[in-house]
């Protein structure tokens, strides 16, 4: 009965409230889906109205609504959610984190956070997890395959070896230019240069690798000039904006991350294992020639004890890397902090090569009042290692006869054990090169907000490092009968000091003029100074064997280089927004630089970009949730290096002689009227989200022209200089970028996310100053006229490789391209004819690059893999040139074959002459000298330039997050174990070591040459993360 009454009363009550326009109060709590924590500051809006509220500190809200209302819950970084009230009085909501959501906030210039949808240009953000998952110790490598239009190339597999990053193609004709983007950490630019070793290559580090990837919260790639216009000259090649982790309010969190990895060579060339030491098929156990002897069968007939060692596998170790890092973070309303310690130790596959990094970071923020906050970041890193001269190591490997055990390299008295050639391992062990970098990166940021429409910011940062390098080549040990590495021995000491200071003051004025129309104006001043000093001292001829000190050498020479550069900029940035759907952004900047002649050193450049969220305005099909188009036009000016203007004298290294120091006119002359470079770029793009945001498509088209390029133009030496630094050309890049993201499956337990990015870039050297036919970017040795050269020619793309080829019948004499389709001309001797004229054999810039990422999660398990690819590029294999010359390559097994070369004679008739490929007297009684591979094959560059495309499994990782029920019994808040593998080549047409390795290092532009580079490696990792 009672129940009945209650029901009736209730019914009546509902009637009653219904009569009062059915208003009711709805309360509830908003929590975060994955950890159940309450979420403050969530916007709760009644759909179709302007009414709404926000959640409080406990994530609670209360709102009066109509009973049929629909509530919209939204918060930055979370997926929007709609809930129909349907008469409920309590609506609890869990929001799902979505870092790539519609209301995504991205960090742009100067650490300014902006809503992604308001931007008129393309940016791509990579989050902490995506970075650490790659297990890359170098932050540049961690970006591989993750961002459209961003090409990352590891220069090799050495511990700490540099990685090169190029965004939307090479923008500079200057062979020495740095075409890499600016790196910015917490709003302050840092140095990412790579200073390679003098002399033999050793694979040094790009300085961004001093950052511990575990400290990174997010990483943004700003690609075009529009995105970087505020940074000005220094970001003319784009910018990588790194934000490090900050403490959060609440309890103190401790995270421990520990991982161990093992690595080995990911791909070997094909070697022959039949022919041993000697020349002309004659066995000689002391011969210089490692592989031109007879077959092992014949050798064993002479000496049954001789073995054929697999020296190419014996010589290498399994690399090991151990990475430990610990972080502590926390804070309260007034102050937050994040501190971390990290140590990485890495031993490479090449014996005695290693690299270590120890870093400490402290980030803190203090809120003195509602109006004034102060934050500071400090990072201290020690990094360095022993850099084995990989190029020389591999060259010595070439000469080492496989009939001798390469690992048996030392005699008990410490001298080298050898049959006569230098042992590569002995050299690697004793010819040391150790570097140590001590680096401090820090900044302070003050924010004063006297009114809600005014922010005053001052950001000052420094990046200081000192680096010492010691290179030792031992002389004789003073023991009878030894084969020394050098007849004198030498030592060189290098000390580099670099200090950057950045000061940035800016005022932000924001006002919402009406409900729909808002504006933000930012004006600021930016000052940059770099002070760089380098000292080199070297000594040769040690006085005491094995006592390696500069003071105890007989000849000492030294040199010094000091550089200072300053840059002052003033900028303004106006952002207008209308109704959350139309955004206009205009920027302007003027720079004054110390490196250009006074009078030409001030330059102004503007940019404008528009974003229009059309899906808010026009009727769109049901499946389209969000649609935006964007357009931008921007200019960026660019200065140059210090001290390029005018004429100077220099003293060649050979002096002093007889106590006299000679001087000569320095070979470079800088145009006294040098003016800044100017890059103009336009970009159009669209961002579409479909099917409940389960599918996202982002497309960008861009074009950029850089003119008045400052180039050290090589000029006729007869004018008194060999280079003239002047404004001398224009280069153009245009291309498209696609990003497709999707969530094919999303259930409570199982999620599958997939993302694909691909980019196409086309480059053209538009013009080079009159009187100059070509600009040589670099060249690499090949035996007997097979040297290749990378040259820039007007009208052609960046990166063409020129070299010798086989003569082609009917080839167009005026064409600079090799026409491989034509028949090869065979000479009267029956062998293909070599054409020494330098023709284009390929291009080193990939046409397409991209990556495919898949993430699966099922309950506590997650599996992800990242595949990346590059295609449409060729590369010169110096390795193969040596393999051919020394009879190491598998194809030289044909050395005793008789063959009729496919081709035509000079008169066009088919070749029918049979020839022998071997050395000395052939079966036909003819003397073939050094044989086909040495006489012909190794002399033709064409044989060594080939397709260097690849598809790689950049990373695959499987992880398990311990679930609530287990964590309950463990002293941890979170625990995760994972296994991962890296850099596995899935496909490549290339025959050789990993085609990714190249010899120039990240700082160089002659990227299409392998050199005898450090081979690429594949790695396997085991990782444990614990959270307290």
């Amino acid at each position: 009965m009672r129940n009945k009454i209650t029901i009736m009363v209730l019914l009546a009550f509902f009637q009653f409230t219904g009569m009062f326009a059915q208003q009711q109060e709805v309360t509830g709590t908003v929590t975060v889906a994955n950890d159940g924590m309450p979420l403050p500051g969530v916007n709760v809006l009644v759909k179709g109205t302007n009414e709404g509220t926000v959640t409080d500190m406990e994530g609670k809200y209360a709102i009066e609504v109509e009973e049929d209302a629909v509530l919209v819950f939204s918060s930055l970084g979370f997926e929007r959610q709609e809930q129909a009230v349907n008469g409920r009085s309590m609506v609890n909501v869990t929001l799902v984190e979505n870092l790539e959501g519609l209301d995504e906030v991205v960090v742009t210039s100067f650490g300014i956070e902006q809503e992604k949808k308001s931007l008129g240009y393309s940016v791509q953000e990579i989050n902490a997890e995506e970075i650490t998952k790659t297990k890359q110790q170098n932050v540049v490598s961690a970006l591989q395959g993750q961002a459209a239009g961003v090409q990352i190339t590891n220069s090799g597999g050495a511990p700490g070896q540099s990685a090169r990053i190029i965004i939307r193609g090479v923008n500079s004709l200057d062979p020495n230019a740095d075409n890499q983007p600016l790196f910015v950490v917490d709003g302050v630019p840092i140095d990412n240069s790579t200073t390679e070793s003098e002399g033999t290559p050793r694979g040094l580090t790009n300085r961004a690798a001093d950052i511990n990837p575990n400290d990174i919260e997010s990483l943004n790639v700003l690609k075009g000039a529009a995105a970087t216009a505020l940074y000005g000259v220094r970001a003319a090649n784009g910018a990588v904006i790194i934000t490090t982790k900050k403490g959060k309010e609440g309890q103190v969190r401790i995270n421990l991350n520990s991982s161990i990895g093992f690595e080995d060579i990911n791909r070997y060339p094909k070697f022959q294992e039949v022919y041993g030491q000697g020349f002309s098929g004659e066995y000689n156990p002391d011969s210089f020639w490692p592989n031109w002897g007879p077959s092992m069968e014949e050798i064993n007939a002479i000496d049954p004890d001789v073995r054929f060692y697999d020296i190419w596998r014996d010589a290498f170790d399994t690399g090991v890397q151990i990475d430990n890092s610990l972080s502590i973070s926390g804070g309260n309303e007034k102050a937050t902090f994040y501190g971390s310690l990290g140590n990485l130790s890495h031993e490479g596959i090449m014996p005695f090569s290693d690299w270590n990094r120890t870093s400490a970071r402290l980030n803190g923020q203090v809120k003195f009042s509602e109006k004034f906050t102060f934050s500071g970041n400090l990072n201290y890193t020690i990094s360095g290692g022993n850099r084995v001269p990989h190029d020389r190591f591999m060259e010595r490997m070439m000469y080492w006869a496989p009939n001798h055990d390469v690992t048996d390299y030392i005699n008990p008295d410490g001298t080298m054990k050898t049959y006569s050639n230098t042992n590569p391992l002995y050299d690697a062990r004793f010819s040391t090169f150790e570097d140590e970098v001590n680096r401090t990166i820090g900044n302070f940021k003050f924010t004063y907000s006297p009114f809600d429409w005014l922010d005053i910011n001052y950001l000052i940062g420094t990046d200081y490092y000192s680096e010492s390098r010691t290179e030792i080549t031992p002389g004789p040990l003073g023991i009878d009968g030894e084969v020394p590495l050098s007849s004198t021995g030498s030592i060189s000491e290098t000390s580099i000091e670099s200090r950057d200071i950045n000061s940035n003051f800016f005022i932000t004025l924001s006002k919402d003029w009406t409900e729909k129309f808002g504006s933000t104006l930012r004006i600021g001043n930016d000052v940059f100074e770099r002070n760089y000093e380098r000292f080199d001292a070297s000594g040769t001829d040690f006085v005491i064997p094995q006592f390696y000190d500069l003071s105890y050498t007989n000849q000492i020479s030294n040199s010094q280089d000091k550089r200072k550069k300053r840059l002052v900029g003033l900028y303004g940035d106006l952002m207008l927004s209308y109704d959350d759907m139309l955004f206009l952004n205009i920027t302007a900047r003027n720079d004054w630089t110390s490196t250009l002649p006074i009078g030409n050193n001030s330059f102004f450049y503007p940019s404008v970009n528009v974003g229009w969220v059309f899906s808010e305005v026009i009727e769109t099909p049901e499946f389209l949730n969000f649609g935006k188009i964007r357009a931008s036009w921007a200019q960026v000016g660019k200065d140059t290096d210090p001290y390029l203007i005018g004429q100077t004298y220099t003293s060649p290294d050979v002096y002093p002689l007889n106590g006299q120091v000679g001087f000569t006119r320095f070979s470079r002359f800088g145009d006294p009227l040098l003016k800044p470079e100017e890059t103009t770029s336009i970009e159009f793009g669209t961002d579409l989200r479909l099917f409940e945001n389960r599918l996202g498509i982002d497309f960008t088209w861009y074009k950029s022209n850089s003119k008045d390029q400052i180039i050290p133009v090589p000029v006729s030496e007869s004018v008194g200089f060999s280079t003239f630094v002047t404004n001398a050309g224009e280069i153009k890049n245009k291309g498209v970028e696609f990003i497709v993201r999707g969530t094919p499956v999303r259930t409570e337990d199982f999620t599958w996310d997939v993302s694909l990015n691909a980019a196409y870039n086309k480059n053209e050297v538009v013009n080079i100053r009159e009187g100059i036919d070509e600009i040589v970017v670099g060249s690499q040795f090949g035996y007997a006229g097979s040297r290749v050269t990378m040259k820039l020619i007007e009208g052609e793309a960046y990166g063409n490789i020129f070299g010798s080829s086989y003569e082609r019948f009917g080839a167009d004499e005026n064409s600079i391209f090799l026409n491989e389709g034509l028949p090869i001309v065979i000479g009267e001797n029956g062998f293909p004819v070599r054409n020494g004229a330098q023709l284009v054999l390929g291009n080193t810039t990939p046409k397409w690059i991209g990556g495919l990422k898949n993430d699966f999660s099922y309950k506590g398990f997650d599996l992800s893999f990242l595949i990346d690819f590059r295609t449409g590029l060729e590369q010169y294999s110096q390795y193969d040139n040596f393999f051919a010359a020394f009879g190491i390559a598998e194809y030289t097994l044909a050395r005793n074959d008789t063959r009729v070369f496919n081709g035509v004679l000079a008169d066009g008739s088919p070749n029918t002459q049979e020839v022998w490929l071997g050395q000395g007297e052939g079966p036909d009684g003819r003397d073939y000298g050094a044989g086909f591979y040495r006489n012909t094959y190794r002399t033709v560059s064409e044989n060594f330039v080939s397709d260097a495309s690849f598809i790689k499994l950049r990373n695959i990782s499987l992880g398990y997050n311990f679930q609530e029920n287990i964590l309950k019994v463990l002293p941890f808040n979170s625990a995760r174990v994972s296994v991962a593998a890296n850099n596995i080549i899935l496909y490549t047409p290339w025959d050789g070591f990993d085609p990714e390795s190249f010899s120039a290092g990240a700082g160089g532009n002659a990227v299409g040459f392998t050199g005898l580079g450090y081979p690429g490696v594949q790695s396997f990792f085991f990782t444990l993360n614990l959270g307290l």
Partner: protein, 470 residues
């Protein structure tokens, strides 16, 4: 609000301050590493040293053409007279001429007449070496950066310039000087009388190059010689240093370390071991190395070493001979060369003087090498050498000069003037077929020049002759 006003005032003031000081703040672009001026003394150090280096460099290019040396590898480009791009040497020649141009200008401004004279003589010498190798080259448009694409001056005009420079140099050397030359002169250590002898000797050298032309004036050659060198003491040479070895010594050391180079031509060995001329030349062991068996065996130019191993079976430049000691001198211009010039110029005027000059030249060279006096006498008195004035021909002068000018670029000038008519002197094996059976007459313009100044580079082939070569 007062506070805010102040704040803006501060901003404006600091802004203004920033602009006014901006110019000074940015005026830091003077290179602290390289000075904008160099003292003439420092330019002299480098110019004298580099002139010796250039003599080596040109010699290193031409020595296979004159078959002093031969490549150990078959069909090596320099051996078979292929077009080779000698960008490096081209650049080195101009480096020195550029510095000399600065030296001459600076010396003239300061009244340092002796420096100016030395500069002019060295300029003539380097210009001469360059013209003799390439023919027409940029000069009047060059050196002082008037254009990035300088035009080429004709070889005939450049020879007039060489002679003018020598004459002017001699005048300047005979004048008093504001600043004296000293240890900064690596050739004569400031001995101006020797510089004047060198100036005259070079005048004779370049005038004598006209031998095959209508303008040849042997009396002028002899007149210049009269004020030339008087003994080996007057030789223009640079002795090398403990810190910097003689570059031929480096070739020999490299070869011993199996970086092959400096192998002796069969032609050279056979010209000295009695095969071709019926007299054994005692200079051979002073100049080149023997095999492990103590024999002297050369390599045929263009053919390579065949089955010979890298070491021990052929004659090579070996460390520590006269030309290959670590501190051996590089000979730039010598008394014995002058005597051969005298022999040639006097041949049709005063044959007796010619014959005596020829014999003196041989003796001077042998003495220079340190050959035992008894061996010298034995050689010179051999009838193959001392055939007597009447039997004496121009062939003997050229043959003996060819041996004495071992590794020196002048040997190629002589070979071309003499049309390579040495005994049994054949084209190399595997010779460049584009030469159509002729010997090489000039170097190809280097790739760097073709690439950087292509429109001005003359269109010539390797068989087109320098003006003095007919």
């Amino acid at each position: 609000m007062n506070f805010l006003k102040n704040k803006y005032t501060y901003l404006v003031i600091s802004g203004l301050f920033m602009f006014s000081s901006c110019e000074d703040y940015l005026d830091i672009n003077d290179d602290p590493n390289n000075p904008t001026e160099a003292p003439i003394s420092a330019l002299t150090v480098n110019s004298t040293f580099e002139t010796a280096q250039n003599t080596f460099r040109m010699g290193n290019i031409t020595t296979n053409y004159v078959q002093h040396l031969a490549s150990p590898n078959p069909a090596s480009a320099s051996d078979v007279m292929d077009p080779v791009s000698y960008s490096g040497t081209w650049s080195n020649m101009y480096n020195v001429m550029t510095d000399l141009s600065d030296l001459i200008n600076q010396a003239s401004e300061t009244g340092a007449n002796h420096y100016q004279g030395i500069g002019q003589i060295l300029m003539a010498l380097n210009l001469g070496m360059t013209v003799d190798a390439w023919g027409s080259i940029p000069y009047s448009d060059g050196l002082d950066f008037q254009t990035i694409t300088p035009s080429y001056d004709g070889d005939i005009e450049l020879y007039q310039e060489i002679l003018r420079l020598l004459d002017e140099g001699l005048v300047n050397l005979s004048n008093t000087t504001e600043i004296s030359v000293g240890e900064d002169d690596f050739i004569y250590e400031g001995d101006i009388s020797k510089w004047m002898k060198l100036g005259n000797m070079l005048k004779a050298r370049y005038l004598n190059h006209y031998s095959e032309t209508d303008s040849y004036d042997p009396t002028a050659v002899l007149a210049a010689l009269d004020d030339g060198m008087e003994s080996n003491e007057d030789d223009a040479q640079v002795e090398y240093f403990p810190e910097e070895f003689n570059p031929w010594a480096d070739v020999a050391i490299d070869n011993a370390d199996l970086l092959l180079g400096g192998w002796i031509s069969e032609q050279f060995i056979e010209s000295m071991d009695g095969t071709l001329y019926g007299v054994q030349d005692p200079r051979l062991p002073y100049m080149v190395g023997a095999t492990d068996d103590g024999e002297y065996i050369g390599v045929e130019n263009g053919a390579g070493r065949g089955n010979a191993p890298e070491q021990g079976a052929r004659s090579v430049l070996e460390p520590d001979d006269f030309y290959t000691g670590e501190q051996s001198p590089i000979l730039i211009a010598t008394y014995f060369e002058q005597k051969f010039i005298e022999a040639e110029a006097a041949f049709n005027i005063d044959k007796s003087r010619s014959y005596q000059a020829y014999l003196t030249a041989i003796r001077a060279h042998m003495t220079k090498l340190g050959v035992e006096p008894a061996e010298i006498d034995a050689y010179i008195t051999n009838p193959e050498v001392s055939m007597g004035e009447s039997a004496f021909t121009m062939d003997e002068i050229f043959k003996e000069k060819w041996i004495a000018m071992f590794l020196h670029p002048e040997a190629w000038v002589d070979a071309r003037r003499y049309d390579y008519s040495y005994e049994d002197f054949d084209l190399p094996a595997n010779v460049n077929p584009d030469l159509n059976g002729e010997f090489i007459s000039r170097l190809a313009y280097p790739d760097s020049e073709v690439s950087r100044n292509g429109s001005n580079v003359p269109d010539v082939s390797l068989t087109d002759k320098i003006f003095w070569d007919n």
